[in-house]
Symmetry: C2
């Protein structure tokens, strides 16, 4: 099979042996695979794939058709349309998916959207609901709301009956983010006076934290899942944390053990995939590129200013 391959901190398309599904695994003929910030970090050598995933083939999410199943697979069969997060190796013609991580793709959802769904929507769902406890009537602030995870977060929070304030750096994208269900779209540096917020989804990083804490409601939760734009270091005033009884937490999805990823998948499958199926939420795809043009796709990802995902497709 052909696959995007990391060679000396660059990507190329190279030929690899076809993988074979072991017990409990699906072999998936990949039809689409989203690009994520972690892929870029992996290419640069900062974020190695977890054990058991291909070390030199990036890609943390995919959609496609089941090409074969390993022993002990009961929920899926050859030909089923599936999507999943994986530890790596998604940007290839074939990829292995543990059955517990696979979700069925709703009938009306095309593969490119499905290939950009898992990472963004599982991350956003886990951060907002499992970690942040978002519920009806909460005021939710989503930073970096035009990106993949951000646009998923705006839609999921709005669908849950929250009042969403979205911060977006690029003002050309404000109208589009408002159409996702944000009650209010503001500049990246114009949120601190807009509170009080019950939950903050932090996708930018440390530079936002003082404003987040200032704008936080009593018992508010700040969930940090990205620091690429604003840095990892930040100054916190603990008396504010105490006075507001604030919670600051954060996570990554990729580093978690399989059983945890399976739980995140099952929760999103129950609560987010039905919204995808009925059109309440959608995967914003800024642009698709054929797998063989992966280098151009990565370049476009790096440029930023996107509305949603950059997705590789396999014709």
């Amino acid at each position: 099979m052909k696959a995007v391959t990391i060679v000396e901190s660059q990507i190329e398309i190279r030929e690899h042996p076809d993988p074979e599904p072991a017990k409990g695994e699906l072999l998936v003929r990949v039809r689409a695979a989203g690009i994520n910030a972690a892929d870029l970090m992996q290419v640069q050598g900062f974020y190695p794939a977890p054990p058991g995933s291909p070390a030199d083939i990036p890609g943390m999410e995919l959609s496609g058709e089941v090409a074969a199943v390993g022993e002990g697979v009961f929920e899926f069969k050859e030909g089923d349309r599936v999507m999943a997060i994986v530890g790596g190796g998604a940007q290839a013609e074939l990829a292995l998916v543990p059955e517990r991580l696979a979700m069925g793709v709703p009938d009306d959802v095309p593969f490119p959207e499905a290939g950009g769904f898992p990472e963004a929507f599982l991350t956003a769902h886990d951060a907002l609901f499992t970690q942040g406890g978002v519920t009806i009537g909460d005021r939710v602030l989503v930073h970096g709301a035009a990106g993949g995870v951000g646009s998923a977060g705006v839609q999921l929070a709005a669908a849950a009956g929250a009042h969403v304030t979205a911060s977006v750096r690029n003002d050309r994208l404000w109208d589009a983010v408002a159409r996702l269900g944000a009650a209010e779209v503001v500049a990246h540096d114009d949120f601190a006076e807009r509170g009080p917020f019950d939950v903050v989804l932090e996708l930018v990083g440390g530079s936002n934290m003082a404003g987040n804490l200032a704008a936080l409601n009593r018992l508010g939760r700040i969930v940090v899942i990205g620091v690429a734009g604003g840095g990892a270091q930040t100054d916190i005033d603990l008396l504010t944390v105490m006075g507001k009884r604030a919670v600051i937490t954060g996570s990554t999805l990729r580093a978690r053990p399989l059983e945890d990823k399976a739980l995140v998948t099952k929760r999103a499958e129950a609560h987010a995939v039905p919204l995808l199926a009925n059109g309440s939420v959608r995967v914003l795809v800024e642009q698709t590129f054929p797998l063989k043009e992966a280098a151009a796709a990565y370049e476009r990802f790096r440029e930023g200013g996107k509305l949603g995902k950059i997705v590789l497709v396999v014709p």
Copy 2:
């Protein structure tokens, strides 16, 4: 009645009108009232009493006998031995206590211990269990473990089957803290290599936070309830928070609404008071002072290096 009274950032004993219990309130003849750091802050003008509490009489906890009850009080009657946190006004011969905040004092527990129980044990119980989720087998780090809240925290965590590491600045107190059930007692600056800890009870402040995060286990929780020793400002590395899926939170008890204090009281009454009754935990009283010597008691409190509580007693 006589009461400790704040006069121009000093304390004196002054005469006040006897308070009268309104609906749902107990009038308590105070027998003992612990001194807390917040009292000192209030005397200095930094921490005003919440609305409805006497502005000029400090004291956030007490024990005593019910002297009279207001309309609609059903759980307590005249003569009952009670203890409670209050919004203020405890350091007086008489004090008002909302019935929902009162706990019965176990038979064998003398008033001075009971008067130093509520603030420390409710704070420690809420922080460790309700906020921190401490459970059997957890590794728990308690900073400032020789103080009132710290010594309560060590005992409660140990009683819950946790493995407790206690940090104590004053090495003369190490043996005493070990006897409270700490598996390990270390210097205040010698904890960062002792992890991984599942829960950190932070009573010192910002200067500990880098070490706390470094020593934290995956999914660990840092609960900040005091910053007097180490300052409020601290630098946090958000990538560590994300990688460990850490939770940083904090609280104060006094600022909470009555219904919240009542819930904290009922949880501690159910889970901590029985341990006090059967001797599994005890209130460490470093020294008692008669109410009329409150100024000397406050001075002793300020000196630090205490094992447990400074308690005012009313003969």
